[in-house]
Amino acid sequence: MQCIHFAIWWPLLGLLVNGLFGRHLPRKLVGFIGCFTVFLSFMCSLYAFVMYLGSQTLGVFAEYEYYILPWIQVADLRLDYGFLVDPLSLLMALTVSLVSFLVHVYSMGYMADDDGYPRFFAYMNLFVAMMLTLVLANNLVLMFIGWEGVGLCSYLLIGYWYRKQAPPLAGMKAFVLNRLGDFGFLIGIFLVFWYLHSVNFTVLREKLSGPTELGPYLFTTIALFLFLGAIGKSAQFPLHVWLPDAMEGPTPVSALIHAATMVTAGVYMVCRLNFLFTWSGFALLAVAFLGGFTAIFAASIALVHNDIKRVLAYSTISQLGYMFLAAGLGAFWIAIFHLFTHAFFKALLFLSSGAVIHGMHGEQDMRKMGGLAKYMPQTYWNYLIGAMAISGIPLLAGFFSKDAILFAAFGARPEVLRSAGAILWAVGVATALLTAFYMFRQMYLVFLTAPRFDEQKLRPHEAPWVMLVPLWLLSVGSVFGGYLALPALFRLPNLLGPFLQRTLALAGEEAAAEVHRAGELLGEGISMVVSVVVVLIGVVLAHYLYRMRWGITERLKRVFAVPYRILLNKYYVDELYDSALVAPGRTFAEAVDQVVDRGIVDGLVNLVAFILGAAGQLLRPLQTGFVRNYAWYIGSGAVALVIILWLVRG
């Protein structure tokens, strides 16, 4: 099982080969190296997973910690390059490497005509390595390395088409907003080390499992700082604005980094540190409410947008909100379950949208699509599966995970605020309605309405098989991923819940029992029926507005002009930041530039340069270029020296 750390080294090897020699290698080989190293990394994870399952007695899952190398040892700070193998990290490593592998294969087709082919695969490999470092790390600092590493890759890949204007700016925006979050994360780590004297996950959990003399306010502070990091990385309100802009990157990047894996790092971190978060009921409630708010906030923006990828981006923000909602209510394993299924269907949706964009020769505006089901049937079916999964159509992956979240909210009675569960349940159900509506709006606009482009000129085409195979494989995951954790109502075994219990114990052990309590079955049934009905309403509404009464939306836009404009402008959050922070910041920076930088700093440097230059001007006539002058200087110098010595000796 120790071989798990090779899962990190393989993609790094791919990075080295493709990054250093990629330009001189044939394209096929570059793509093969990029994919194969990630495949090996998936194999390493799978091997470790199988070995792990084999080494466990039934139902009791231990954890293994491996110290590969000592890293920093100063006073009582002891950091290792080490890994923690437990159900949580194994599940994450498996998901990350599998989805990464499929996206890599897809990229071979999608990026086939791109100039920076080796660069793309080098960055993607680096991303996989960093993401695996993040999920497998056994201490907070190593996790932070991975955390920053994936942020770097995100920046590099958003700005991948650096010759255009928008992508580098979007990359910078993502980087800066992530800095804000990381600042909180770092302070959180410092506080953890200062008060708990360790950053090692197992040690921390050991320390926090019993009573402690540290007050609840301290834990609230630490947890909120750490959560700030999660807000930045997982694009939650108010730091969500970078994610929609990140869609400027190539679509496989949006699928892998900005939907399936990297943005879920925040959720993973909160779940990994569940033993810390559970010490502060207030912080957990903040997590839950912010998640719930972001879920419905982002879903409402997705209702009106027309860019096929931006809708999916807001959908991602909204789904991440769901995960935080679950985590905040103490249902950590459900958050991870939704993360797991979401990785599949959101990657599927993004990659399918990439196939659409590819087939439409770069068109992303849904208003200029329509009727594509005829031109690209396979993409259509995959998209449909993805849309059904994310909407929560029964028996697909999203149905089970979303339902588990809603039910967890339904039954939750947090100590701080008793009614929180009910409020969040209502928010979750409303978000489910919006989700179903905007997904099927997208389905109709893209695939099922009459074509709104010049069919003779544009000629959309189906994606090549190298792109379709990953789509179908992800579809399989999107359909069957949910069967790993069936609700108790079905009277079938829940595999994932107990598997994750060991790591996500705490509220977990009770929560899992709660899910299986017979008396709650009625509640679960009610919750499930309500969510199914709500989802169907959303689908039917989309069908009515975009199929049966085509054109009615134009009238609705006029009737609801104000809310429509607000939604279309994303609640003016970007504008608010621009006028409240960016513009004053720029003015201040310009003032500093004028006074301090040009006035003082440059002034001093220029003064030194001026003095030296003047001295040079003064002395340069001495250098005549005539040898006899120099000889004359030397001779007279010698004579002067003799005279001086004579005089001094007196």
């Binding site: 006539p621 001495l622 005549t624 270029g625 040898v627 006899r628 000889a631 004359w632 001779g635």
Partner: protein, 101 residues
């Protein structure tokens, strides 16, 4: 001080001054070289004279070292002169003044 030492030092001073004057006023590099040799040999003579006066052998050793250095210097200097001549077909020392400040 013995008379011979005094004469030698006077001769050495005269030779040195002649060399110095030559270096400063002549414009042909070969002549300048000869003048430099003159100066070096004047110094040698002074070394020898002092060695005699002080009954000390190190002065003579220094004279030998100066000769070795002079030989090396001539080798380098003549090579430079030849190179300059090949490049400009002329060796007037005042024309070679591109390093003027």
């Amino acid at each position: 001080m013995e008379r011979i030492v005094v004469y030698s030092l006077v001769l050495s001073g005269l030779l040195f001054s002649m060399g110095m004057l030559g270096v400063v006023v002549r414009r042909h590099p070969l002549v300048m070289f000869m003048c430099i040799e003159l100066m070096l040999n004047a110094a040698n003579l002074a070394f020898i004279a002092f060695a005699w006066h002080l009954q000390e052998v190190s002065g003579q050793v220094y004279a030998l070292i100066v000769m070795a250095v002079a030989a090396a210097e001539v080798a380098v200097g003549l090579a430079i002169i030849v190179a300059v001549y090949r490049y400009r077909a002329d060796v007037d020392i005042d024309d070679v003044s591109t390093l003027r400040g």
